[in-house]
Amino acid sequence: MQIKIQNLNYYYPNSNEKALDNINLEIKDGEFILVAGYSGSGKSTLAKCITGAIPNFYGGKIGGKVLLDDEEILKIDERRRASLITMVFQDPERQLLMNKVYREIAFGLENIALDEGTIKKRIWESLEFCGITDLYDRDISTLSGGQKQKVAIASALSFMPRCIILDEPTSQLDPVSADEILNIVKKINRELMINVIVIEQRVSRWFDSIDKLIVMKDGRLEFVGTKEEAYRINNSEVNQFLPSRIKVAKKIGIEQYPSDSRLIKSRLKDISLKSINKGEKKGEDRLKVDNITVKYGSFTAVKNVGFSIKSGEIAALIGPNGAGKSTLLKSIIGLVDYRGNILLDGKTMNKLSVKDRAQQIGYLSQNPNDYITKDTVYEELLFTLKNFNIKDKGIVDDILKKLDLYKHKDKNPRDLSGGEKQRLALANTLILRPKVLLLDEPTRGIDNNNKGEIAKILKSLADEGVSIILITHDIEFAAEVCDKFILMFNGEIAEMGDRKVLEDCIFYTTEINKLIREFKGGIFTYKQFIEALEGNK
């Protein structure tokens, strides 16, 4: 399907700020498009305009046209619109309505009044195509996040639409499930020739499959072009959204877009790189986790896990979903019952309540919105202080300044951006000046800019002696920030140590390490690559 967007402008209801600013775009039939951009750049808004949800569902002021095969979207009958173009959202929990998988797929097809025979055929075929026929009559609540997202895709595919838009479809998934989703989406585009528009912040996984890259900034199109054009152009906004391996290729002077990573690897062989050695943290053990086992009924989530973290050390807990990472963090803060011993500065914490532990150990859950209950940023931090009977309010200003939130102190926390909300949640944890910080996926759903901010904050906390354990699926972020890596599978630690743990990993490593590891160890991120390259010069 050919999609044309002409002079598109949009204001959300009750807003005077343009969410989309004069968008002109043409997407050819069967194209695979990747839309990248920082949070608030207008990516999702653009997608919603293409589906017609804006303005039909959202309201607001809209100008310009969206044409699907030369037919204006707002003039297309709702039923035909639903069968022409559909969308998969980022959170599978918030898009699946029915209890059973086959009923979920049937739901959309019933809406467009297909006959029973066609619905049956489409259900089975879409499940078959996505490789999930075994889930046919499974209860959706029993599925994993990855399986739920596959059901959402099968449901979208069952319409046999001309275009599917996917809004950050892998942001809530572990790398294994994310790769499975990529393969299904690629197959939809290549085999069925359905237009695919993917909105993502982590472009690396998708980059090889796309025909066109769109980079958005402040509601405008910053760049529209092929991968090759994106590779040639010298635009810092675009460069930020190139995968690390492509940035490396550009840096070492490969002229044409390297469609095959083997080419980059062969060129890297001739380049000498300086070794990067991150000194090992020295000092006393701050936190010691000794032989911890956690059981949920008859299921053992964590099996005899033991490790220790030094003062100022940052450790990454890595592994697939269900490996026991979050349970392990919860056992340290005392939120789940466990067997074993947890020692802080040599003293056992086993008999301390959650509240007592929280005065020394900070814990940050995945969703920053869970920390918002008050009307101002300042009151939010005061709430935590009051709960611990701390009278000295001076620390609130200190923490707000440290996390660059002081300017927002009287603002309603609900009006903060995603990255700012994450910093506020972190501030709520830091307000008690913890010795140990436990973070459950602190970079989930936030863009590279905000990720950089979080990295800086964590490093500065570590410099002050705070020990940090963080769970992450973002290996590049972990490789940039962490000193220690704990790889968990099936409730057990498979391996633990410094960066060498990642060096020979098949899956849990970075694309730069995969390129370079044969001839230079210890380089995992583009930043480290530049350091090694320039250090050598």
Binding site: D91, Q95, I112, A113, V354, N369, T384
Partner: protein, 283 residues
């Protein structure tokens, strides 16, 4: 569950019959007949654990009913014992037990609904008849389990933020719930918006819907519906003859009308059970 299940309307009529009779009478024979029928359904469909778990609810319910009843009602002539200068009479006790049984019958009916009705099929059916109302229910049903899980996660987070949920003061315990409720309300509003958007994108409310696995109104549905309606009217017409007032006379009202209501309830339940066992859960 498949399309051989009974039609949603016939199950609703059956449930309506059970509920209306249970609400309108205190006749022990009729109430226990309904209760036995419900228990038989659970045993027939291997839901013994359900019976055990509900007994745990029933016993405190019984104690509370007896307590409240004896607090306000002093009627009855056969005094069983004296607690804190309050006479507990046999009539009082019988009335409380029957009242608790009534409540148990209603609770069990929800579980029976779950056994006999495929909730997705019901939603699909009602979506074609009254789509907007169904969407509202759909969003609510979807959110309840999610909110339950979310509430547990929030309790964890707020415990770490120093909130004490087990404070000795009741006021403090209630106050501790406020931040959780704020987050839950905001989250559920956002989630309902997202679910509705997803439904809109997939063409919900775009016109008349078709129904997948449409359940036909079969002979058995006619039979169940007719017997249910007859039972309701029969009971209403002869209600006076089946009336029971424990405080006037605690002895059982043994008359043909009471027996015939019991028989109708038994027959109907037997027909439905047999049908499901033979056609729906045959495998």
């Amino acid at each position: 569950m498949n399309r051989d299940s009974l039609h949603i309307l016939s199950i609703i009529l059956y449930a309506l019959m059970m509920v209306s009779i249970s609400f309108l009478t205190i006749n022990p024979l009729i109430l226990f007949s309904i209760l036995i029928c419900e228990l038989a359904v659970f045993l027939y469909f291997n839901k013994k654990e359900l019976i055990i778990s509900t007994i745990k609810i029933f016993l405190p319910l019984l104690v509370i009913t007896v307590f409240i009843n004896s607090l306000f009602v002093n009627a009855g002539v056969l005094v069983l014992f004296n607690v804190f200068n309050k006479y507990i009479t046999l009539e009082n006790l019988i009335y409380s037990v029957l009242f608790a049984v009534k409540l148990l019958i209603i609770i069990y009916l929800f579980y029976i609904f779950e056994i006999f009705i495929d909730s997705d099929a019901a939603l699909s059916f009602f979506s074609s008849k009254m789509p907007k109302t169904t969407l509202l229910f759909m969003v609510c049903f979807k959110l309840i389990p999610t909110m339950k899980k979310k509430l547990k996660d929030l309790r964890d987070i707020y415990q770490v933020r120093g909130v004490e949920f087990n404070s000795k003061s009741r006021f403090q315990r209630i106050k501790a719930q406020i931040p959780l409720i704020i987050v839950l309300i905001e989250e559920s509003l956002e989630a309902s918006f997202d679910i509705s958007e997803s439904a809109y994108i997939r063409g919900f409310l775009s016109g008349k819907r078709s129904v997948f696995n449409k359940s036909k109104f079969k002979h058995i549905d006619y039979l169940v519906s007719i017997i249910s309606i007859i039972s309701i009217f029969y009971f209403l017409i002869f209600k006076k003859l089946t009336d029971y007032n424990v405080y006037d006379d605690y002895r059982l009202p043994l008359n043909p009308f009471t027996f015939s209501v019991c028989v109708l309830v038994f027959v109907l339940t037997f027909v439905i059970n047999y049908y499901y066992k033979e056609n729906v859960y045959a495998d």
